[in-house]
Each structure stands twice: as structure tokens, then as C-alpha cells.
């Protein structure tokens, strides 16, 4: 069947899509953070990032409960802190910055989906923490854009450049 076309997330998703604890996939593990930049090198304050990842053992089953709700008043309670749902969602702040607290995935990478005002169709990329056979299929001079840089123990930096000389490698799944 013919797919329904994509349209931009626009500027006004902020009261609908982000949720409390959206960047806390799991506590006690690692933190990954960075900035989203446009083609002029300016930070993008209205991007929304989604993350999907395996647990520490590489298990990709996920689980419900990322957006857990309180049935008495409808409020978002968020994760219960025990179940690993594998899903995260974080909007960039006014500086274009985002942060994710999670565990290092057993299969080597975190999948990222990028939405933004001005982006008519979302983009996929991956955060790698070390060498991986897939990276060999990426042109050598752009490979580093998929690798998180360790800033200090347990804290990794991963910037996303939508365009320009430092443009991040984006992926096509067909």
C-alpha cells in the first residue's frame, strides 16, 4: 500500500510529545548528551529526539510503561524505574542541548530518530560506543559522526549536525 506522507513535527509539539523522565531510559548506567546544529552551525532549539535501544545483554524486546499514566487523574507518572522499556524521547532545550541517561546497549549502538521544525521527514542515525563492522560501510571521513566521544567516566558526547561540513551520517532502511 502507498504510505501516508510524512509532515514536519512543527514548532508546537512541546506540550504533547515530551514526557517527564523521557530521557531516563535507565538510571545508574551511562549518560549521553550533545547538541543539535543546523547548517549554519547554530543550535536547533526545537528538535525532538527519540531513542530505541537494546538492554545491556543486547535484548531488543522493549516493554510498555515509558509513558505510564495515573488512572486516577490522568497525569503522566513515567517509568517505574524497574522495567527496561528501551524507548526514550527528549526535546532539545533553548541551547539545542539534549541528555539521555541509560545503559550501554549490548548490541553496540543506540538508534536515534530526529524530528524538528523545518524537517519534513524524520531522520535516523545511530550512536556507537566503539568500533563496529557497520562503521566499515560508512565513508571513512564521516565515520566519526556516528561515534560517541567519551568525556569522562560514564559520560559520552554525541552532537548531531543536520547539514554542513560536519554533517552527521543519516541512515536509510528502505
Amino acid at each position: 500500500m502507498n504510505p501516508t506522507p510524512s509532515q514536519t513535527v512543527g514548532p508546537f509539539y512541546g506540550y504533547a510529545l515530551p514526557f517527564p523522565g523521557g530521557g531516563d531510559i535507565a538510571l545508574g548506567g551511562i549518560a549521553v548528551h550533545g547538541y543539535v546544529y543546523d547548517g549554519a552551525g547554530d543550535p536547533v532549539p526545537d528538535a525532538l529526539l527519540e531513542f530505541w535501544q537494546a538492554d545491556e545483554n543486547g535484548e531488543l524486546r522493549g516493554a510498555p510503561g515509558s509513558l505510564r499514566r495515573d488512572p486516577t487523574n490522568g497525569a503522566v507518572l513515567g517509568r517505574n524505574g524497574v522495567v527496561f522499556t528501551g524507548f526514550g524521547r527528549v526535546g532539545t532545550d533553548q541551547d539545542g542541548h539534549w541528555a539521555l541517561r541509560t545503559v550501554r546497549p549490548g548490541n553496540g549502538y543506540i538508534s536515534v530518530c530526529v524530528f524538528a521544525r523545518g524537517l519534513l521527514h524524520h531522520l535516523y542515525t545511530r550512536i556507537y560506543f566503539g568500533q563496529d563492522p557497520f562503521l566499515d560501510s560508512v565513508p571513512a571521513e564521516r565515520r566519526h559522526t556516528l561515534l560517541a566521544e567519551q568525556e569522562r567516566d560514564g559520560v559520552y558526547r554525541f552532537d548531531i549536525h543536520l547539514q554542513g561540513e560536519k554533517e552527521t551520517v543519516f541512515l536509510d532502511f528502505g
Binding site: N2, S6, Q7, Y15, D38, V44, W52, P64, Q163, F173
Partner: protein, 249 residues
């Protein structure tokens, strides 16, 4: 200072892009200049294909009964009073590109109120907020892939892409399939809106038939006497999923 962009300038660009061959999928090209915010926000390098049958993206997040409450799909009942506006229901099915229903997955919507104002600090145009309308809803699809929302018809609103730019009335939709590759964020429009030809966001879908897939159908039998007007909008998710998921679910 350069002259502000006029609608006629944008119309000319829209016509120019309309003459180019559409993308095979019908999705908008990310470099669509009539929507000015795309200029610095689209990649210029080709996307790198991933052919790995074990790719994590062939699976995806799951949601369940704990992620929604039963009232979440009625946007007219989220406050003490009733919202102003034309009451509508929007329903349809979420399918994958093979036509199979997407079951038990999360559908999220957000929209402006009847006056065309979003409950967002960056929307500061002079239309009233409605204390009885937030404009956010969510639900899970049922075993047939069906979803349903009760809401009010959103108003059109101005934006600053060019002088006198107005968005046609629309509801934002966010959808998950069984795989992260099937993720979709899009907008549903209402039939017969006179603003369609002027809107570079809708016109970024340059294929007329693909554009029609963003427009809901008014179905009289879905209207409820004395209560609401009924619209139907089916959604087809693009992107591959893991084979075992297709067999197992």
C-alpha cells in the same frame, strides 16, 4: 533590508517544485525551499543504506494499557467545562505497507483550538486560548488497527514563513509501528480547505495523489446526531519490519 517574501513568491516556487518528479515513496523531499525552515535543516549528503536483517530498527518500542488512560482520546473532556468549537470524531485504521493492521500501538495527536491557537508560549498570535481545551490526545490501536478521537475542529492559523502565510486546519499525528523504521509524524487535513494551494508544508508533498492521502474524508454515517461530525482517516506506515515480528504478531 530585503522585501518580505510575498505569497506570490512562494506560489511561484511551489509551482516550480510541483514540476519535479515526486519521491518514489510520496514523502516530501527534505530540501523543499518554499518551506523556508528546511533550508538549513536538511542533510546534503546521501543517506547510508542499512541492509542488516538484525538491525535494531527493525524492532521498536512497545506500549500498553499503562501508557494511556481511557479518557485520553476525548479532547473535549479534559477540563471542567466544554471547549468552544465544532465537535468532531476522527477515526481510522493504522496499517503497515503490506496492509496489515498495526495492533496495540500508540497514536498521539496535538492540535490548535477552534480559534487556531496552540497552548504554547511560542504561539503568540492574537487569537484566544480556550481554558477548556488543551489539544493533546493519545490512544492505542485495537486488534484491527483502529483508533478514534473525539475533539473539536482546529482553526487555521498564521505563521511567518512569508507575508500572509496561513496554515490550513490540521491535526498533528504521531504513530508507531512494530518497527522503529515505521515511525511516522504527519498532519491530517480537512477536505475542501481553501488554504491548501497556498501552504508550502502540505505542498511539499508534490504528488497530488500522495497529498490526498493526508486529507481526511467526511463520512456522514460517522456523524452522531446532535453531537459531532465524523471524519475518517486511514494511515499507512512506511518502512520494513523484522520478519519474525510480522509472523509472530
Amino acid at each position: 533590508m530585503s522585501e518580505p517574501l510575498q505569497q506570490a513568491d512562494i506560489d511561484r516556487e511551489i509551482a516550480e517544485y510541483a514540476g519535479r518528479p515526486p519521491t518514489p515513496s510520496g514523502h516530501p523531499a527534505r530540501d523543499y525551499a518554499p518551506y523556508r525552515s528546511t533550508l538549513l535543516r536538511h542533510p546534503k549528503q546521501p543517506l547510508i543504506p542499512v541492509k542488516d536483517p538484525e538491525a535494531a530498527e527493525l524492532t521498536g518500542p512497545v506500549f500498553g494499557a499503562t501508557d494511556v488512560t481511557p479518557l485520553d482520546n476525548d479532547l473535549t473532556k479534559q477540563h471542567l467545562g466544554e471547549p468552544i468549537g465544532e465537535r468532531i470524531t476522527v477515526r481510522g485504521r493504522v496499517l503497515d505497507r503490506s496492509g496489515r493492521p498495526v495492533r496495540g500501538q500508540l497514536v498521539e495527536i496535538w492540535q490548535a483550538n477552534a480559534a487556531g491557537r496552540y497552548l504554547h508560549q511560542r504561539d503568540d498570535h492574537p487569537a484566544p486560548l480556550d481554558p477548556n481545551f488543551t489539544g493533546v490526545g493519545r490512544c492505542l490501536t485495537d486488534d484491527e488497527g483502529r483508533y478514534m478521537f473525539t475533539t473539536i475542529k482546529p482553526g487555521p492559523y498564521p505563521w511567518r514563513n512569508h507575508r500572509n502565510a496561513w496554515r490550513p486546519a490540521h491535526i498533528h499525528f504521531s504513530l508507531f509501528g512494530t518497527a522503529f523504521t515505521q515511525r511516522l509524524v504527519t498532519q491530517m487535513y480537512f477536505p475542501g480547505d481553501p488554504l491548501f494551494p497556498y501552504d508550502p508544508i502540505l505542498q511539499s508533498v508534490t504528488d497530488e495523489r500522495a497529498r490526498q492521502r493526508l486529507v481526511a474524508e467526511y463520512v456522514h454515517d460517522l456523524s452522531e446526531p446532535e453531537v459531532s461530525l465524523g471524519y475518517q482517516w486511514d494511515i499507512v506506515l512506511d518502512g520494513p519490519a523484522a520478519t519474525w515480528m510480522e509472523e509472530g504478531r
